[in-house]
Every structure is written in C-alpha cells, then in structure tokens.
Amino acid sequence: MHERIDRNGRVVAPLDEERARETIRHLLDTQEIEALAICLLWSFRNPAHERRLAEIARELRPGLFVSLSCEIAPQLGEYERTVATVLNAYVGPASVRYLRDTGDRLAARSLASPFLVMQSNGGVAPVSAAERKPLVTLDSGPTGGLAGAASLSRARGDANVIATDMGGTSFDVGLVVAGEPVMAEMRTLSQYTYRTPHLDVRSIACGGGSIAWVDPHTRALRVGPHSAGSSPGPVAYGRGGTQPTVTDADVVLGLVRADGFLDGRMPLDAEGARAAIGALGEQIGLSPEQTAAGILQVNNAAAANLIRQRTIQQGLDPRDFTLYAFGGAGPVHVWGFTRELGVSKAVIPLGNGASTLSAYGIATSDVALQLDRACDFSLPVAMDALHAALAELDRGAEDEARAVGLDPATLAVERSCLLRYRGQFFQSLSLPLPDPSDASFNTKLREAFEREYARLYGKGALVLLQDVELFALRTRLSRALDTAVSADRTERSAASPQESRKVFWPTHMDWIETPVWDGTQLRGHDRLEGPAIVELPHTSVALAPGQSLEVDALGNYVVQGA
C-alpha cells in the first residue's frame, strides 16, 4: 500500500486510493479470499488509512470479513499487531458462521436467556461482540477453569489460589491473587506472538498421557514431553498404546482402580500397565511400584516447578496459596502437588465437578468488555492530555457497549493502565488507575509502579532516573451474572467406605491398606482421613496418609495436611 503515517500519527504519504483499490481488486480476483486482514504502520495512532482501506474492500466485496489492526490490537509493534489481526481474520468467518448458527438453533429451542460467549480475558460477552472480534474467544476454554476457580475462591474466601488443571496431555496453571485472576498481555500461539489481555494460563506437557522413558545418556527416568494422548493413550486403555504413561503409573500404584475408571464404563488393562512399567523399571533396576512412584515424583516435580515459576515470578510464595486441583487427572495427584510445594490446603472444586470446572467457570463469569487505548505518556503525566485520552477511551467503550446491545449505565467501570520503564518492550505492569481528579495522581502512580516493580524484581532493579512510561489505558465494563453455586449441601451423610484395597503410596514407598469411598454419597461437612481414595464418576481423589478431606457447604472437597 502506498501510504505512510509517522510515529505521531501524522500523514507523511497520503493513501493512494486508486492504487489501493487496484491492489485489493487484484487480490480478490486472483485469490480465494474469505477474510482480509489490514495492518499499517502506526495505525493505532491514526487509523484513517486502515479504515479507508476497509471501506474500499467492502465496496469491492460487500460482506467481506475485514479485520483491522487499529481495532483488534491497537498497540505499538506491527508484528504483534499483524499476528493478532491475521489470527482474527483467520478464525473470523468460521466463528461468525458457527456463532450465528448456534444462536439460531438455541433460539429455535426457545432459550430464554441471552447467548453469551466466553472470552480469553475472563468475561463473557454477547455474541455480537464475539462476532466483531472473534480473536477474544481464542483459547478461552482453559481460561474457563481459572475463571471458575476465581469464582469459587471468592465464595469460599480463599484469597490466593493456584489453579491447576491436569488432563490427558497437559498441565495448566493460573493464579488468583486477592480474589482476582492474574492476567497477562503477551501470548504465543504456535510460533506467533501477539498482545491481548488474557487470563494468564500456562501449560507444560505433563498430563496423564505423558510418556515415561529412560534417558539413554543420563540413565535417569524422564516423563514427557511426548504424550500418548487419548489415542492410543496409556497402555492401560488397551487401545494399542505400548509406552508407559502417568496414568499407567496410577493404575500400578492402585490410585486408580482398573474396573472403576469413568464409573466402570471403561475397564483398564492393569496387567498391561504393570508389564510396561515393569519393563521400564528393569532398565534402571527398579521394581514396577518403585518405577511407578518415580514417574509420579518426576511428574509432580515438573508440575511444581511450573507453579513455583508462576508464583515466584509474581513475587509471591506458593506456600501462601490454596491449591485448586481440577481436570480429570488433577484430583488423583493433588497429594503430590501439595507435598512438593509445601502447600497446606488444597481444594477439589465442586468434587465431581472438578473434571468440568472450565464449563462452570464460563457459566459464572461476568459479562465483560475490555478496551485499550495506546498512549505515550511519561511520568509525571500531563493531566490535560490524560483527561482527553480517558474521555476518548470512555466514549469508545460506551459506543462498543451499545453496539453489542449493552446499556453502558448498567455496567461497572474499572480503569487500569500499563506501565514500564521507557525502552522496555516485553515488560508491562498493569496497575489500577488512580483517580485522575486527585491532585496527587502522579505521585500515587509513580509510587505504585515502584512498589510493584521492587516487589517483583527487587529494590536494586529500580532505575531512579529512567523515565517511566504509561503506554496504554484500559477500561473494563462488566456486569455480574448471578449464576454461581449456592450453599445447599449442609446435611452430613452417614456414608462409610465401601471397601478397602492396597495402594502403593509413593509417600511411604509401601503398600498400605486404603479405604475407598463412593464420592457420590458424600455431603457437606463430611470429613474423612487419609489414606483414602474417593471415587467419583469422572475422577478419583487420592488422599495420602496424614491428609484429611472435608466437604464444604458448596460441595468442594477441602484437603488439609501435606
């Protein structure tokens, strides 16, 4: 495109519209174009050329899905902005078709409440918002788990939560600090990095399907990163898997009952699992039980390592947290995570609901819209310019709310800002915006920045003479939905263990007779002591010797003791 805008948003070279029209026409004529992504330099300072190109494209092909970088990711960095804009265009047409179709079908079945869609920023939004910016829905599933944990943590009064989701292939970690899920800006999908505010959920490859192997050079037992996934899956699944996995170790140890998996609907091949783990153990001179216990130890350590990274990077101590363990494989291994981290309290959110917490999280999230405005202020901020920028941000947010059918008057407003030392690029500290009418606005903001920076990186990292820049203003409009669970499980049950069996506990490296409970019989305030296995239709909770479990009034299992 023949045009150039400079860093101040000034037009250096006007857009050559005729040439642009020809170029777009040629593209539309010679390629099969379903969506068009447009990203020009400095468009977040002056979007005029991008918007004009969109108009031209729509004139040439009405109804074309056009994705503009000034709308999708209006921040400095054309690479990251292009990635976001292209991803938005890439998922756009299919998402829009799917959302409309689903909406129509729900309406045909007389769904009474509005159809809302989860966003990776942790809020749900009307479908029209997701159609305008499908990028915000990308990867919002794992976000749901963290959102669910945040919602339950507020109900339970757990201020700081490590939310862990262990499934078949991955282990995801997010944090809730002071009741709020921790957000991040930079996101990498495959090799593509872009900026979008999202709940910060990070993954490593250590799930139930992670394959255990012996490193030929160190002779050490390794777990992952390769996964058997669900097909062929662990050896115990009997679907042709031959390499031993974490789930096979669970079966060998007796943490998971071969005929009790998925409520008995999927019998497991315990002999196969034992043979595969035994063969692995022979290579390093360990028995099948020792090998299985070792697999869990290595896996737990990798999981704990990720958790430590996440918490310590935030300047926090994992021991000050409650650990929430969910996903199909989480409750089986919670005893290991707590021991590894020195965490004294863990929660299996919603008991059997732990395997589907993401869905719960989505259902209980607030309706939320989030808007950013890039700016270029140095501290102390010139207040007139700040007021002008805020007024523009507010106007934009209100327009956006109305455009998706929400009444701005019914929405709560939260403003924050992104700060860093001038020159930093990958760094951003998000802080609540002090009241701009307060005379000490600048002092408060500088103090808050330095306090947070020193907390995260140490006082020695503060650079007293370097400019601090405020590079984006953010507003979040939200409305709570009254969808959270209520406390209705207050009756204690008279449940007792249905049987007992021998479990090889890695904590003791020995077989210990372990009572097995039917979790569906448990009610609020029921309490049991480890060792115990609580079997549920979708998962099992393993309680190590010395731990106790109590069901709270919301149906969560609270595990105490390491």
């Binding site: 023949h2 045009e3 150039r4 400079d6 860093r7 250096v12 070279a13 006007p14 857009l15 050559d16 330099l41 400095w42 400095l76 960095g77 054309e78 690479y79 990251e80 012996v214 490193d215 050079h217 160190t218 002779r219 050490a220 037992l221 390794r222 777990v223 390093i284 360990l286 070792g294 130890q297 290595v298 350590a301 990798a302 390592n305 990274q309 310590i312 990077q313 030392y421 001038r422 020159g423 930093q424 690029f425 990958f426 760094q427 990186y457 140490g458 020695g460 990292a461 503060l462 650079v463 003479l465 370097q466």
Partner: protein, 761 residues
C-alpha cells in the same frame, strides 16, 4: 600449547589473560583459603536425578526470561545478545541458555580467571558478585559484560550463576565499537574481574565508575541493575534447591549431567573416522580504508572421542579484526553443539570437555595484547562461527551414521551485519541507532532441506528483529520498506540457502547525522558447502538528492531499490563516516546464505515449486539451475537434461565422459558429502571416476575451474570490482561426470586447501 613463533624475538608470554587471552592451566591455582565443594562421591537415584536436573535447567532458562523482561536495550530485548549459565565450583560450564551461543565459554573462562586471581585478594565470599568485561580474560568484547555470582554451601564454594549481557555503549573513542582502532587503548576500557556486589548489595561507587564511561548512561544503568537482579534471583533458586536436596545431590546431578553429555558427544564422534577437516573464510579491510582481504582458518583434528582445534593458516593479527580466546572458542563450541549436541538442552559442558585448543599466538584468532577487539561481534566472530560450522559440517559429512550426517546445519551468515548511525538531536545531544535487522539472518542450505528465508541464526536461536515501530519510536527514522531479497544465483545449490532481507529508510525529524559504521561488502564471504554457490553480499548504500519528502507527500512510497532514485556514490566496505541528511535514503541488506551441493543437481520438482510460489523467475531457474520451462509453466525434462549436461561441459571445458550418479545410489565405501566416496584407500566420485589416493587431496585430481567470483553470475558483480577481484571462486569438478564436488572462495593465489584428510581407509 605450542611455543611462540621462533621468528618472534620477544620473550615468550603466557596465556594469562593479560599479555594474551587467558587459557586455564590443567590445574587452577586457587588460594587455599577458598574451599571448593567436592560432589564426586554422591550417588543419586534416577528419579531424584531427573527432578534436580530439570530444576537446574529451568532455573537457568528463567534467568534469561527475566533478563529479557527487565532490560531496556533493544540489543538485549530483541537480539537476545546475552547468555545465562550455571558453572561448577571450579568454573566448568554446566548448562547455558538458548541465547547467544558463542558466549558459552566466556563465563567459564572469566570464573576460572577470577578463581586464580581474586581468591586471595579481595577473596570470593557468599553474597559477592564479580564483574568483568576484559576480553583477554574471557568476555567477547568490552560491551559484553560478565557477571558472576558465587553460590556457597556453608563456607565452601558450590557453583557459579552467571549472565553476560551486551551493553550498547561502554565508552571509548567512538560510540559502541571502534572498527578503526589500531590498539586497545582506542576502545572502551577493559575492566578485569572485580567485586561489584558485596553482601548481595551493589557497590554504588563501582557501578557508577562503569556507568560513567558510557554515552548511554541511563540505558547502561537500567541494564546493569536488571543483570544484577536476575543473577541474584537465580542464585536464590540454586540455594533453595541445595537447601532442599542437599549440596551433594545437586552437585552430583551437575556432574552426572556433564558426564552424560560427554558420553553422548563422544558416541557421535566415534561414528566418524579419525581425520582432520579445515575451512577458511575471509573478511576485508582490517581498518577503514584498508584494501586487503584477511583469512581465518579453523582446523579440527579428531582422534577417537577427542577433538583438537587449531588456527594455523589464519593471517597474523591486524587492524581491528582480531578476536580473543573467549569468543573464538565460543564460536567453535557453538558450531559443535548446534550441530552435534542440540538435544542436550544447553547442558553443553560435557562437549567442552572433549575439545582441546592448540592455538598459534599472534594470529587474528589468537592476538597478543594490545590488539583491539571491540569489533569482534561484527565480523571476526561471525566469520569464525561460519568457518567452524562448515569445518564441522565437513567432518559430520564423513560419519558412517546417516542420522549423524543429517545433523549438519549448512552455511551460516559469515558476519553479523549491522550499521550504526548517529543523529544530532535538535535540542543538542546525540541519538544513536544500531540496526538489529541482522537478526533476520537466514538459515543456510541443509543436507536434506532448503534454508529458511529470514530464518534467524542457528547460533542465537531466540533472537528476533525489532518492529519498525520500535525503531521509529526510539530513533529519528522513517522506513520505506523491508522485504525479502530476490532469489537468484546467490545461495543456489542442490538445496538452497534462505534469502536475506533488504530495506530502505530515511532520517526523519533531524537535519544532521552520520553513518560512522556500515558494511558495504565488496565480495561475498560465504562459500557454499559441498559445491553450493556462495551467499550474497551485504550492501549499504546512501541515495542522495532523492527528493523523498516531496515524493512521499504525493503518495509515492518506493518499494524497491530501483524506485528510490537520487544519486548513489559507491561506499567502501567500512567507513569513513558518511554525512546524512533528510534527503538521503539509506538502503541496506543482510545477505542470503550459501547453498549446499551442485545447483545443477537440484531436484527439478523443487525448482518448479520455487517458480510456482513466485520465489524464482523462470529465466533465473534456467540460468542458475539449468531447468527449462515450457510456455505452459511446466518444466521440460528433455530440454533440462540437455541443458544441464551442456552447462557441466561448459564449466569443465570438455564433454563429460560419465553420467551423473543417482542421488540415492548405494555404495560399499564411505560416502563423503554429496559427491565423494572413499573406498579401498582411494577417493572416487559417486559416478565411479577415480580421484586419487585417500591420503592425497582429491582436489588435485579433480578439474579445477578458477575465475574471479564476480564472473560466476551477474548477481556477484560488485560495487567495488577491484576489491572483489581479490577473491576467486575455485570449482572442483569431477573429471568424469562434471558434477561440482566442492568450491573454494579464496584470496587469489592462496594454496588449494587440503580440507578433508581421513586417517583410516
């Protein structure tokens, strides 16, 4: 170590980090007051081993992530011009991060020098950190600052946590680096290892002393504090690990991981017959205005599971193009680990143990003090990485194990191309700009696949080039375009090199500036591997009197070099500083890497695919690869076969007497590279033609076609033909089938290199 040259009348000097680069003695002389932890006795079970190993690697990895987050210099943010490492108590490298690979040996050498020279006075204590930017001690050049944090267990030194970061400017006669220095005194000061942090608190007086040297004190201070914070955080993680698992366990894991790496590397070396492999690379202009070419040579002698590296054949130290032992050995290690041990996840110390250096002193890659070394990062180290990568590639190509042969990475970019500009701020003061677009790089042709366009560099895998908006945000520039170079004869081969990147920009919002350092190459520097074409030249041009502002105002934005207009005066490779004004357009390119194998052996379907994707014009495909396209856009197999045979005949000067061997044909001898077979004590071409006795250089039996490199193809014609004609391209062709076995891109008159010597039949 070899003795000094007998002709050298000066008394022999030691490799002591003062008169010459530091090379540690077999046994370090450490003051007895400092006790070192000894972890050799502990036995660790395979599960704890893995848990601790993983924690150590992660701690080092996070060290890098934290640096990247806190630093402000674009060279660090985008270029990842830093490294983090973990060393054993006696300074042996345990693991390093996925950042700048040639920094790998610098921390270890600096730690060992610090142990020898600082353990008595001022002493090495818990909570200390030492700082050094002395390239004769270990650092690559003055800008690359080593920070070392000793980790203690009780009163015993247990390990070192280290980072090395590149600072934009650390003082000296000219900003950043001095390409014209004749002695080290004209560069930024060297600070041999001193204690910067005591009791975990930086010494503000010493910090200020260092920062005071810089033209960019704010940036240097921010980055110094970031480095200290990141190093301290990582030391805390290692201390916590020791606290939890015991020092003997963690120590045993460190030692065990090194042993495992060593075993793996030795096992791979064992698949290669004993022998010696060499490669040469040339640079030009030891200082601005100099019109000579200079050679760096690397020779690898392999016996069993050990390698000896020497630099004989390299030119004597000259001008500003020398490099010390830290970066030279780091370059060789980068070439070895990236090809033969990439699966070690950075636990590279075991590889280092298998390699010995036997350097002849006083050469470009082993200079005596006070040779200037600030320019190391631009040309010398890139040249040595390239030469080492190709030499290692030749060695790997002789492996009996196809999996090891496939590990060769192919040619790298032979220099790190950048340009440094400065502008007078309207209100006074100086704006410094250093282009990091060299980080776009490109990956060279590999044995089984093409290189990657703008694919970065194998020796700094995590680096990225900045956004144009980052540049324009920080510097008074306006970019016109940034695009892939066209594919042509440069980098052509059986597999082709990735193309590089070209761009144009104008000074913006300033009226006066200068281009003190730029690289406008007279000749290409990278020879192809096993017969591939050389890569392209990096160019730097200034178009003057362009009227660019007015043309932009009319909506005309140049998209290619030939649309810029104005007047172009040819520039020398280096300097002198050129004035810059707002009507000047600066154009430069980071080059296309070299190819692998004879371009006339390239699979026709691959050429067809390149043309179909718009990467190659049909007329270029014909001229370079001998592939003929019919009017319908499909290739013509008969015409292609005829043309290729005619092209082989033309370059050999006679008709081929044999047919080409099929690429997948099997042989009972050792296949070497694309074309050679070694069997029964004789070299042969795969077509069957005999190429002489195994102990002789097959190149003497092959047909040698030698001509100035400019004559290879129009793409190689230079802005400076006289300089370019210093260099010739020698093609070694099979006298039977005419296939190009290998090439030499050499200074005219230099002897033919005996670069593949295999000691067993």
């Amino acid at each position: 170590m070899s003795e000094a040259d007998p002709k050298d009348m000066t008394p022999p000097v030691a490799w002591d980090g003062i008169a010459r680069s530091y090379m540690p003695p077999a046994k370090l002389a450490i003051d007895p007051s400092l006790k070192l932890f000894d972890a050799r006795s502990a036995n660790v079970d395979p599960i704890t081993f893995e848990v601790v190993r993983n924690a150590l690697i992660s701690a080092n990895f996070e060290h890098g992530a934290l640096l990247e987050k806190l630093c402000t210099s674009p060279v660090l943010l985008f270029g990842r011009d830093f490294q983090t490492s973990l060393l054993s108590a006696d300074g042996e490298l345990a693991c390093m991060g996925p950042n700048l690979q040639y920094f790998g040996n610098s921390a270890a050498r600096t730690a060992q020098w610090t142990l020898e020279r600082r353990s008595a006075n001022p002493g090495i204590r818990p909570g200390d950190m030492f700082f050094s930017n002395d390239a004769y001690v270990g650092s690559p050049h003055q800008n690359d600052c080593v920070l070392l944090a000793p980790v203690f267990v009780g009163d015993e030194l247990f390990a070192w946590v280290s980072n090395i970061i590149h600072h934009m400017d650390v003082g000296g006669a000219v900003p950043k680096q001095n390409s014209g220095a004749r002695e080290v005194w004209q560069e930024a000061p060297l600070f041999p290892s001193f204690r910067l942090v005591e009791d975990r608190v930086p010494r503000e007086d010493l910090l200020a002393m260092f920062i005071r040297q810089s033209r960019l004190p704010l940036m240097v201070e921010a980055d110094m504090r970031a480095a200290i914070a990141a190093c301290e955080a990582t030391r805390g993680k290692i201390e916590a690990l020791v606290e939890r698992y015991s020092a003997s366990t963690v120590g045993a894991v460190l030692a065990g991981a090194l042993d495992a790496g060593e075993r793996m590397f030795r096992a791979r070396l064992e698949t290669i017959p004993d022998g010696c492999w060499s490669h040469r690379v040339y640079t030009e202009a030891a200082v601005p205005g100099d019109r000579n070419a200079y050679c760096y040579q690397i020779n690898l002698t392999k016996r069993g599971g050990r390698l000896v590296v020497d630099n004989r054949g390299t030119d004597p130290q000259a001008g500003a193009i020398s490099l010390t032992f830290g970066p030279f050995s780091g370059a060789v290690f980068a070439a070895l680990t990236s090809q033969l041990a990439a699966d070690l996840s950075g636990v590279n110390g075991g590889v280092y143990r298998c390699v010995e250096f036997d350097l002849e002193p006083g050469l470009l890659s082993s200079p005596n003090h006070p040779a200037p070394i600030s320019y190391t990062g631009a040309a010398p180290v890139g040249a040595c990485i390239y030469a080492a990568v190709i030499a290692v590639g030749k060695m790997i190509s002789c492996s009996r194990d196809p999996e090891v042969r496939a590990l060769a990475l192919g040619p790298t970019i032979p220099h790190f191309y950048t340009n440094g500009l400065e502008f007078d701020r309207p209100g006074g003061g100086l704006e410094l700009f250093s282009s990091l677009d060299g980080m776009f790089g490109s990956l060279g042709a590999m044995p089984h696949r093409d290189g990657v366009a703008a694919g970065g560099h194998s020796w700094i895998p995590e680096s990225v080039a900045p956004n144009i908006e980052n540049y324009e945000h920080q510097s008074p520039l306006l970019f016109l375009y940034r695009r892939h170079l066209d594919a042509g004869a440069e980098g052509a081969g059986r597999t082709r090199g990735g193309v590089g990147v070209e761009q144009a920009f104008v000074p913006y919002g300033v009226t006066h500036g200068r281009a003190p350092s730029h690289m406008n190459e007279s000749f290409p520097k990278s020879q192809g591997q096993w017969g591939g074409n050389p890569g392209s030249r990096s160019f730097f041009r200034i178009h003057r009197k362009t009227g660019i502002e007015g043309r932009l105002a009319q909506g005309q934005v140049p998209e290619r070099s030939d649309e810029i207009g104005g007047e172009v005066t040819p520039l020398a490779y280096k300097g002198p500083s050129e004035p810059l004004g707002p009507d000047d357009v600066i154009e430069w390119a980071t080059p296309t890497t070299a190819g692998w194998g004879d371009p006339l052996s390239r699979d026709v379907a691959m050429v067809e695919a390149d043309v179909a994707r718009g990467h190659l014009l049909p007329e270029v495909a014909k001229r370079v690869f001998g592939v003929v396209f019919a009017p319908d856009g499909k290739t013509d197999p008969d015409a292609t076969a005829t043309l290729r045979r005619a092209m082989r005949a033309e370059r050999m000067g006679r008709e081929p007497s044999r047919d080409l061997a099929a690429l997948d044909a099997q042989y009972d001898g050792l296949v070497v590279g694309d074309a050679l077979v070694l069997r029964q004590g004789r070299w042969a071409c795969r077509c069957g033609e005999d190429l002489g006795a195994a102990h002789d250089n097959y190149k003497h039996t092959a047909v040698m076609a030698e001509a100035p490199v400019q004559q290879l193809a129009s793409e190689f014609v230079s802005d400076d033909p006289e300089m370019a004609d210093l260099m010739v391209l020698r093609q070694f062709l099979c006298p039977g089938c005419g296939v190009r076995i290998d090439t030499e891109l050499v200074r005219a008159g230099d002897p033919v290199l005996h670069d593949v010597r295999i000691e067993e039949s």
